[in-house]
């Protein structure tokens, strides 16, 4: 797969991670810029307009979600969060602030490239179509119908809307808060979360062979859900 010389800005204060990323991304054909701090990143983004930003959450000078908010004021380029485990709430904050997806350090090369390509693809394909495909799912928005692996499934209206929200993200993560807002357009609280989990559980029962080992709708612990597109680590 070619990357057409897309430009990627890597923002991380750890030189080790930056070097690994630079090697991996350059060998995949990307042009890589580097920043070691949030402020530097902001000026690089406004000057060089990279196609995608890889943003570490543990920057010394600025909160990750603050960087995301500042970028989003002027720029809609995809932002992929890099974070270690135990930073779930920071991740969620950054995602809700407008970041598109996240990746836990340490990451696999394939997973990294797959996420980056999915984000770049999503940025480009804004065609007027009513059919969306993602992973094993196809949804036909004109007829409010969904298919899994080519076979139609009967979904309730809520289940369909939830699936549509996930499919629209093309394999990127959707946070709990985003799903509650998009599907129920309601207030995010414990009861909304309760309804979300129950709906996901029902959706899985209709689509997964073994709901305990979901293959299609994957849980991102403490963050949200995504549709598996074949690049994720699966059980």
């Amino acid at each position: 797969m070619t990357s057409n010389g897309s430009t990627i800005l890597v923002v991380d204060d750890e030189i080790g991670i930056r070097r690994v990323l630079k090697v991996c991304l350059a060998s995949a054909g990307f042009v890589v810029y580097e920043s070691a701090s949030g402020h530097e990143a902001l000026s690089v983004i406004s000057e060089l307009q990279p196609d995608l930003v890889l943003l570490d959450l543990g920057l010394p000078d600025m909160d990750g979600s603050k960087v995301v908010t500042r970028v989003r004021q002027s720029n809609q380029c995809p932002i992929l969060i890099l974070s270690i485990r135990d930073q779930e709430s920071d991740k969620v904050t950054a995602l809700d602030a407008g970041a598109d997806d996240y990746l836990i350090k340490p990451f696999g090369n394939r997973e990294l490239l797959a996420r980056i390509r999915a984000l770049l693809r999503r940025g480009r394909s804004e065609t007027l179509t009513t059919n969306f495909k993602c992973g094993a799912f196809t949804i036909d928005e004109a007829h409010h119908a969904a298919q899994i692996a080519g076979k139609p499934v009967r979904l309730t209206r809520t289940e369909y809307t939830l699936l549509k929200s996930l499919v629209h993200r093309q394999g990127n993560v959707a946070t709990h808060r985003q799903l509650v807002r998009e599907v129920w357009s309601g207030m995010y609280n414990e009861n909304a979360l309760h309804v979300l989990h129950v709906t996901i559980s029902n959706l899985r029962r209709k689509t997964e062979r073994d709901p305990l080992r979901p293959q299609f709708i994957v849980t991102e612990p403490g963050v949200g859900y995504r549709i598996a597109t074949g690049s994720q680590r699966l059980p």
């Binding site: 750890e14 080790g16 991670i17 070097r19 690994v20 990323l21 090697v23 991996c24 543990g58 270690i84 485990r85 135990d86 779930e88 709430s89 350090k105 340490p106 990451f107 696999g108 090369n109 394939r110 207030m187 995010y188 609280n189 414990e190 009861n191 979360l193 309760h194 989990h197 129950v198 996901i200 559980s201 899985r204 709901p211 305990l212 080992r213 979901p214 994957v218 849980t219 612990p221 403490g222 680590r233 699966l234 059980p235």
Partner: protein, 526 residues
């Protein structure tokens, strides 16, 4: 409060001198001598005054009427009674009457009286003199009492001011004791209620000791107060009472059974002041401690975070660099070596994670973010996170229609992964591991069972302790933090964790999780 110094204002015109201040002026100038001079001198002065009047009478030699002379004698008595007290006044009354009778009433130089009118004059002089002496004495005593009250009020006021500056309870006691010594002339000791429930010496003035008898009385006074029976509160023992009850006793020293100290109301006011100041100082102390504690916790958290970051960041770089090699189609020896390095680096990462979790638990720095979650989702995530390289068969049995649990998802996934990891490690590779979840009363019980050797009864509590490992586990890698961390995480959810025998061999690790009770706070935003 705005205190105005009376001297600092413009001088008042003399016409506005009020009756009260005029009276004060008179009494002050008249009473000034009383405490200063010895009694003998005062009597002598009184007699001398009478002698002077008498001398004046002789010089004038009946140029004035004897009744007018009697007026002069009266003046002397009034003067003496204000200036030198009751005794000298009575003395001067007597001498005046006698001198008047002897020298100025015919027949002269004799106490005999011929004219009946002069009997009345002499007797009246005598009576009026004595009456004036007593009245003047009463006025003087009232003035003295007023002055003492004023002094005590001033002392109490300045005590309040200086106690306000004292920060710690021991400073309060020292300050109060110094003040009472300076203003009332008494040493005081303070006994305060200790945490053990006994009265302990909190302050003893230097060089003065509280003897056993005084101490026993103090304890008795305190005990009576504690039982809310008003005991015979003696002057030298003042109870220190706050709104929360009696906190100690103030003892005036040296201890004498017969109390002759400052007025009781004043003492009670002092005791109340001291008690409330101690209470305030203790609150301040506690607030300071809380602040110090909070600072320490903050430091610990910062330290944990920075350790987490500095250890894990390079490790993440190592793993991120290794992953592409291990994933790629490298030559077999390189691929093999890369995979070994990768697996070991993963282990190190998990180990650092465990150490951090343990220190967070011990530092009480664990943040539990409880939200409703689906048990199936929980088990699914644990199965995904589990390192199960040999692909051990894991059977899952979840009670249908099981309600949601209120948990911190990541913490409980961690618990489940730990238990599954142990079950895989410590049971034969060809036998399955079971997970089952069911409703047990008002909780959900999760169980991980294996067909291993089981845990001996004697070790069942021990294995949840730090760095403890069961017997016969030395061949298996691990450092023995998985179970204590799991215990900590489960208990942070008010759950329980334990191990029991599996019928037919092996062990069952069980833990409970709280149910999510919906709708009780439907409107709360998170």
């Amino acid at each position: 409060m705005n205190l105005v110094d009376p001297d600092s204002g413009p001088p008042r015109p003399p016409s506005r001198l009020s009756g009260a201040s005029f009276y004060n002026l008179i009494t002050k100038s008249l009473a000034a001598d009383q405490e200063d001079r010895p009694a003998g001198t005062r009597y002598l002065l009184a007699v001398a005054t009478v002698a002077a009047i008498t001398g004046l009478g002789i010089v004038l030699d009946l140029q004035v009427a004897p009744t007018n002379l009697a007026m002069l004698y009266l003046l002397a008595v009034v003067f003496a009674s204000f200036k030198w007290g009751l005794g000298p006044a009575l003395t001067s009354s007597l001498i005046s009457a006698l001198a008047f009778d002897y020298l100025f009433i015919p027949p002269y130089r004799s106490f005999a009286v011929t004219d009946a009118w002069y009997v009345i004059t002499a007797a009246t002089l005598m009576c009026v003199s004595v009456l004036i002496s007593f009245l003047a004495n009463a006025v003087r005593e009232q003035a003295t009492a007023a002055r003492r009250r004023e002094a005590h009020t001033a002392a109490l006021y300045s005590l309040t001011v200086s106690l306000g500056v004292a920060r710690r309870p021991d400073e309060v006691l020292k300050c109060a004791a110094d003040h009472i010594k300076a203003n009332f002339g008494w040493d005081v000791a303070f006994l305060l209620l200790a945490e053990t429930g006994e009265l302990a010496m909190a302050y003893e003035p230097p060089g003065v000791n509280l003897d056993a008898a005084a101490r026993a009385t103090a304890e008795h006074v305190f005990e009576l107060a504690a039982r809310e029976r008003s005991g015979p509160l003696q002057g030298p023992f003042q109870l220190l009472t706050t709104v929360e009850g009696a906190i100690g006793v103030m003892v005036l020293l040296p201890f004498r059974p017969q109390y002759k100290g400052p007025d009781l109301p004043i003492l009670q006011a002092v005791a109340a002041q001291v008690a409330s100041s101690i209470r305030r100082a203790r609150f301040e102390d506690r607030a300071r401690e809380v602040q110090v504690l909070r600072k320490a916790e903050e430091l610990q958290r910062t330290l944990l975070n920075s350790v987490s970051h500095s250890l894990r960041a390079p490790l993440a770089a190592i793993l991120s660099a290794l992953n592409p090699i291990a994933e790629a189609d490298a030559r077999p020896p390189i691929l093999e070596l890369a995979r070994i390095a990768q697996a070991e680096a993963f282990r190190l990462d998990a180990l650092i994670g465990n150490l951090l979790s343990m220190s967070r638990l011990e530092a009480m720095a664990l943040k539990v973010k409880r939200e409703p979650h689906d048990i199936q989702d929980l088990i699914g995530s644990a199965l995904r996170d589990l390192q199960n390289p040999e692909g051990r068969n894991i059977l899952v049995d979840v009670q249908p229609g099981i309600p949601l649990v209120s948990i911190d998802f990541l913490l409980i996934v961690n618990v489940l992964v730990n238990l599954l990891d142990n079950a895989i490690k410590y049971s034969p590779a060809d036998l399955p591991v079971h997970i089952d979840a069911h409703l047990a009363g008002a909780e959900i019980e999760l169980r991980v069972s294996d067909c291993g050797r089981g845990v001996p009864v004697a070790e069942r509590d021990l294995i949840f302790g730090k760095f403890a490992r069961g017997s016969g586990t030395s061949q298996t890698p691990g450092i023995g933090l998985g179970l204590p961390i799991s215990k900590g995480f489960v208990e942070a959810h008010e759950g329980r964790i334990w191990v029991q025998d599996r019928p037919g061999g092996g062990s069952i690790f069980c833990f409970t999780l709280p149910l999510f009770t919906a709708l009780h706070d439907a409107c709360r935003l998170t």
